[in-house]
């Protein structure tokens, strides 16, 4: 079974993400009903939950892509819903968002994908600096050889890693991973899990990792939170969360490990 994560470098005196009593519904559908969450500096928090439980909605709210109906979202000391567009942009530079479907720009090569956020946000970089940054993130995700390929030529796992590289290039303080291992084989999953931990150590990021893959949760999470019926019902270390008689939580665990 997966070895346990050694948590280190977490500073519990500093909160980077603070969610309080968050509500969000789409028409008749109530997705989030009172979500509270706190992420400390340097910490990887795993959010578990069934498909459609609102995990993606949650991190879209954190990055300001969606607005909550009520409740507060505080990221790095900023109340996201109260920011003007300029401050929101500044905050977004500090947040890396790895999308569920990678969301690589499919009309651009890997290199152009990586270059795009960099040259558009820091307009006075020299060609050498850009080149260095690209090589550095490609090396971090171990995909130097794909530099001139198109996204359509990459495998699912490679796309995920290039997507992560594209967010790393802006040196974010917070990483939001949406299902980083969904649809990948177990070995590639292990690679991605290692990458997530490596990013945490190397770039000193705090992260929220969304997944329904318990191996991923166990090996990357310093803390695990389980989203059920629009709320975080259980929260703590991996063992604490699953050491329960609650059927809804247990069935989630059983499904993942007894197959």
């Amino acid at each position: 079974m997966t070895k346990h994560k050694q948590s280190q470098g977490i500073d519990r005196s500093q909160t980077v993400i603070l969610l309080k009593d968050l509500y969000k519904s789409f028409g008749e559908l109530d997705v989030l009903c009172g979500v509270d969450l706190e992420v400390y500096k340097g910490e990887n928090v795993v959010v578990l939950g069934r498909s459609g439980s609102g995990k993606s909605v949650l991190i879209k709210i954190i990055s300001g892509l969606l607005m909550p109906d009520s409740g507060t979202v505080n990221v790095l000391g900023n109340d996201v819903s109260k920011l003007n567009s300029k401050d929101l942009q500044a905050l977004r530079l500090k947040i890396g968002f790895s999308f569920q479907g990678s969301a690589l720009y499919d009309s651009m090569t890997v290199r152009e994908n990586l270059e795009f956020p960099l040259v558009r946000n820091l307009r006075n970089l020299s060609a050498a600096e850009i080149d260095k940054a690209i090589r550095e993130v490609l090396e971090a995700v171990n995909l130097e050889q794909t530099m001139n390929q198109m996204p359509s030529e990459l495998s699912g796992g490679q796309r995920k890693r290039i997507g992560i590289a594209r967010t790393l290039i802006l040196k974010p303080e917070i990483m939001l991973y949406d299902e980083p291992t969904a649809g990948l084989d177990p070995l590639t999953c292990t690679d991605i899990n290692d990458l997530i931990n490596e990013v945490q150590q190397r770039y000193h990021t705090s992260s929220i990792i969304i997944t329904h893959d318990l191996t991923c949760a166990k090996s990357t999470g310093d803390r695990v939170a389980m989203l059920l019926e629009g709320k975080f019902l259980r929260e703590g270390t991996f063992e604490e969360v699953f050491n329960t008689e609650d059927e809804r939580v247990k069935s989630f665990f059983d499904y993942n490990f007894i197959q």
Partner: protein, 263 residues
């Protein structure tokens, strides 16, 4: 809770129609605000102009040329009946420059470029590429929408002028083969009836149509939903709606130019 047929119609059709109209109006307004705000995406605009212009060129050449030839062929008998065959060149010039070139160019580009923009932005939307731009602090509206709308608005007058030229060449070829008219005398008599108002009005039309094609394509693509199906729908409705609007604009602009011409 029972609802009367009237309430049903309002809830099902009228409300959504106004919501759609409101969001479209906001989209257009946002374009006019952002188009004048630096930084300007010159490189992207030029790239789009090239894409749009270059890709439509073969089709515009073909349709322009065929329109010129066919229109000449079809007009000859009726003019000859009135003993006015010598008016053929100027009739053709008026028809092509005032009406056919702008309309044919607009409809061809609506079909080719409008659907392309709708599908391209639509697929970027449903695969979250637009969200990805947004979260990396890039303004997707400026980069994707403003550049494309500016490009179609600038490119359409050029395409229209080219189409008129090709159409007149087709007409000349037909007239030359049938009536043995020389190149200079054909174009002299062709342009004898054309005023600056005609040319300005046509260029203005082309600008309006170009804007329409760009903004409708972008609006539909940018608001695409529901996966791959939504992409197809965005491309499709972009074409239908922009053609519809082009015809309405045509009627309005023709009314105004006729009014200016006669007063």
């Amino acid at each position: 809770m029972s609802s009367s047929p009237r309430e049903y119609v309002i809830a099902k059709w009228i409300d959504p129609a106004f919501t759609e109209l409101y969001s479209a109006a906001r989209f257009v307004l946002r374009f006019f605000i952002e188009v004048f705000q630096p930084p300007f995406e010159f490189k992207e605009i030029i790239r789009q102009c090239y894409e749009i212009g270059y890709k439509s060129l073969p089709l515009i050449t073909l349709t322009g040329f065929v329109t010129g030839i066919v229109f000449t062929n079809q007009s000859r008998p009726s003019l000859a009946e009135f003993g006015a065959a010598s008016w053929l060149p100027s009739l053709i010039a008026i028809a092509i420059i005032r009406a056919l070139a702008p309309l044919v160019t607009a409809l061809i580009t609506a079909g080719k470029v409008g659907s392309n923009i709708g599908a391209e932005l639509g697929s970027m939307k449903v695969t979250e590429q637009i969200d990805a731009m947004e979260v990396s602090a890039i303004n997707p509206f400026k980069f994707l929408v403003v550049s494309r709308v500016v490009a179609t608005t600038l490119t359409l007058p050029v395409l229209m002028t080219y189409s008129a030229f090709v159409g007149l060449m087709g007409a000349y070829l037909n007239v030359h083969l049938n009536e043995l008219t020389s190149f200079t005398s054909f174009f002299q008599s062709a342009f004898s009836q054309i005023t600056f108002l005609d040319i300005y009005a046509s260029l203005f039309k082309a600008v309006v149509y170009g804007f329409t094609i760009g903004i409708v394509g972008c609006y539909k693509g940018f608001n695409a939903t529901q996966g791959t199906q939504g992409v197809g729908r965005a491309a499709n409705t972009a074409v239908v709606i922009s053609m519809f609007l082009i015809f309405i604009e045509e009627i309005l602009i023709v009314q105004v130019t006729t009014w200016i011409r006669t007063s």
